[in-house]
């Protein structure tokens, strides 16, 4: 099953830890907010879970499907 990293946009404050933990999947835009590049593949799953865990705003969730 494909998993997606979803941003809770009102909660996000562009702290950028998701990019540090998961640079292969998360870029930052010109204001520092995450740009999630695609679904979470199996090889990125552990890092994605880490990104969810370390977000200081608790603004990331891993969700199933689209």
């Amino acid at each position: 099953m494909s998993r997606q990293l979803r941003v809770d946009w009102p909660a996000c404050r562009a702290r950028g830890l998701c990019h540090e933990v998961l640079p292969d999947l998360v870029d930052l835009d010109e204001w520092g907010y995450p740009l999630v590049r695609g679904p979470v593949t199996d090889d990125l799953l552990a890092d994605a879970q880490e990104a969810v865990r370390v977000c200081p705003r608790l603004a990331l969730r891993l969700i199933d499907g689209r």
């Binding site: 941003v7 809770d8 946009w9 009102p10 909660a11 996000c12 404050r13 562009a14 835009d29 010109e30 204001w31 520092g32 907010y33 740009l35 969730r61």
Partner: protein, 433 residues
Amino acid sequence: MTTYLDPHHTVRTDDARPASPVPIPTRVTVEPGPALLAGIEHGASLGAHRRQYGELPRLDRDALHDLVGRVRLRGRGGAAFPFATKLEALRRGRRPVLVINMSEGEPASSKDAALALTRPHLVIDGAVAAARALHARELHVVLPGDRPAAATAMRTALAERDDSVPVHSHVATPRFVAGQAKAVVELLAGRPNLPVTSWKPDAIAGHQGRPTLLSNAETWARLGLLVLRGEREYAAVGTRDESGATLLTLSRPGADPLVREAAYGDRLRDHLPAHAYGRPALIGGFHGSWATWETMASARVSVPGLRGLGVALGAGVVLSSPAGQCPLTLTSQVVDYLAGQSAGRCGPCFNGLPALAGALGAVRDGSGGPVRVTQLATLVERRGACAHPDGTVRLVRSLLGTFAAEVSAHGEGRCLEASRLRVVPVTAREFAS
């Protein structure tokens, strides 16, 4: 003066926000129409309503579902979502909450206000019929915050009735994004009337975690008409594929907007005021798309028909750009306004929409090209809790796609619309001499 918080907790005043180039009207003209607006001359009272339509029949859940499925009732809030699908999604097992959304934050739309003023009991009957069929726990009515006459008319109508379902009314914050479904559910909960991230559909867990059925006022009025008149009479208007009619709000320069009811299948041009002829129009409102006159001249009032032409009817706004008004300049003013209407909660919208408005302003002034506009559009799209950035991007992209020649002209310091006007005084002088 009111204040609100941006994501970084600094305070901005509302006064600093750009005004809408189309003001929220203080008056609206409503013409009698073939379905909802038939008989409006008899007044908006409950007595007049019952004389015209009789008592509200009782339906059970299955009968309601069959009825809306057979006429293929679609939502009139903008997305044209099938009402039957919405009913199917409504989680069973807990009594649902029903919501009449009349907030109408779009300045160019006045159809919900028109319904409040002329047809409040059709709106309420539709919701009450559904409340009975679904054993709803309560009915919420969300009134517009910046259209006091419409809000008063709805309150008056509610006070005339004695429905068994408990009814609660709320007043929306006067803001473009306040009518978005999640923002409305926030308002019902007593929190700021602003969008939040939706993790579960409202039909599953909306107000207080209950299954919530939220629809636009016109959708409820269509349902009311359907229940009161029956399928056959309802479907006597419209086409075989699209039953019924839909409300349009037509802009008129220097006059009140006009709300008309068009049967599906009608030629769009037959409903337009004279000044709109030969002119492009913004269809679907500030989150809508530009259509050239050639497109409009051939268009029928039809959700799939207009979609086929690349235009979404949305909530039925047809905002014509009158002669002499440059569509690029108007769009730039609209985007300035929309940028200021961001709830300010989602970073890409809060930062990106003002940047997008600035980039489009540069295109208008000839100081910047459309490349930056396109880049910013991609950057804000689908990156917010609500569809405000997406709708703004739709408008901007349709401008660039529809008026490529005007965009190029502005890049060279010219304006095609203004050049066209310059012909007029020369001709007038020739005639005078």
